[in-house]
Symmetry: C2
Subunit: 222 residues, 2 copies
């Protein structure tokens, strides 16, 4: 049985869930709270982070991008990147943008301050960080707007890993109700197209007891 | 003419220089100071970051890992990753470790505080960050030791992108003289093997006016 060790609000984990579902690969989910640093977690990934995928062949894979590249090389029936190396480089540039730049400038400031600090009991949210996250998200939604005014999807004409990386980050922030969709209608249209794909059902079904999602979170017509 | 826009102390830029040299690909270097945010930089990479590679075919590529994957797909004569998807996933896990975890825990705390703040005139070095960098580097040198006690190189039996990513980070920190090599002899042996490769000559020749490298930096028998 293929198993993904994950934590539900983590955008890196959501990225792998979306990629697996998009490729039609069945998998079980195991919740792993990275801050508990369980010996089993560290044995599977010495970085102490999720996602970790244990594939059917027993391979233990860590890091969301290493996992997605592995899935791309191993399960080729539903490709999530173009074949041309220059188009692939563009996809990977955008993946890095959302995995790292968006994460650092937005998700880390909002999701980590508002949810992770509460879950890990590591202090009060930093209001300056939250303000920065709310400020920075406009720049990223404008960049998404710029891209989708020129292309069908973020990296080109096909839905793929760049969209998945971006949607994974945004879905985590959207769980807080912190995405100003109405001020960025073109980005909203792109997200609603991504969200309507069957691969999105899993993460739209997430709900933390005591920390419910806002009403629009799972609504396809938000 | 293939051109790499880079900044000399940036580990991400050093990673691409090492990969290009290892593959025997000729390139010109153009210095780009990202903090000046020149219009030409932003036109080539809206993230405003280096490295940026303009390949002979005119393709403009940004993000060090997107560039390295492109080189791997386009110039196959000297592979820097194994063929097997599981081994490639292990290489990519380690690349992410050094590009992001090592960078965040070590390089950012030492190189950015000691050199970048001075160059960009953005305040005094944060002594708590520098202390954290000095503390964290031991953990990473121990992890390198763990790996090379089990394998010839970091990701397996061949020198490749995991070694390049790690050596790029360490070479930046080593320019400050801040790597405690003598306390980690096995990691030192690995680094001296990497450093002795012809591909390393370029970055060992770097020298900033007014901020000279320590004597051992370019010494192959340090």
């Amino acid at each position: 049985m293929r198993t993904l060790y994950h934590f539900w609000i983590s955008p890196a984990c959501r990225k792998v869930r979306l990629a697996l579902d998009e490729k039609g690969l069945k998998f079980g989910l195991q919740i792993e709270k990275p801050w508990e640093r369980r010996p089993n977690l560290l044995a599977r990934n010495p970085a102490g982070e999720v996602p970790i995928l244990v594939d059917e062949n027993g391979a233990v894979l860590a890091d969301s991008q290493a996992i997605c590249e592995y899935l791309e090389e191993t399960y080729e029936d539903v490709p999530l990147m173009a074949k041309d190396p220059i188009e692939r480089a563009e996809t990977r540039r955008l993946i890095a943008w959302f995995d790292h730049k968006f994460y650092r400038e937005v998700t880390d400031n909002l999701v980590d301050e508002k949810i992770m600090k509460r879950l890990t009991k590591s202090g009060m949210p930093n209001t300056a960080a939250i303000r920065a996250g709310h400020h920075n998200i406009h720049y990223h939604l404008e960049y998404i707007t710029y891209l989708v005014e020129r292309r069908s999807w973020l990296a080109g004409e096909e839905y793929g890993l760049a969209d998945i990386a971006a949607a994974a980050q945004l879905s985590s922030v959207d769980y807080l109700g912190d995405v100003p969709w109405d001020q960025h209608p073109a980005a909203k249209v792109w997200y609603s197209r991504a969200k309507s794909r069957p691969s999105f059902r899993g993460i739209l079904g997430d709900n933390l007891p005591g920390m419910p999602a806002p009403k629009h979170y799972a609504d396809l017509d938000f």
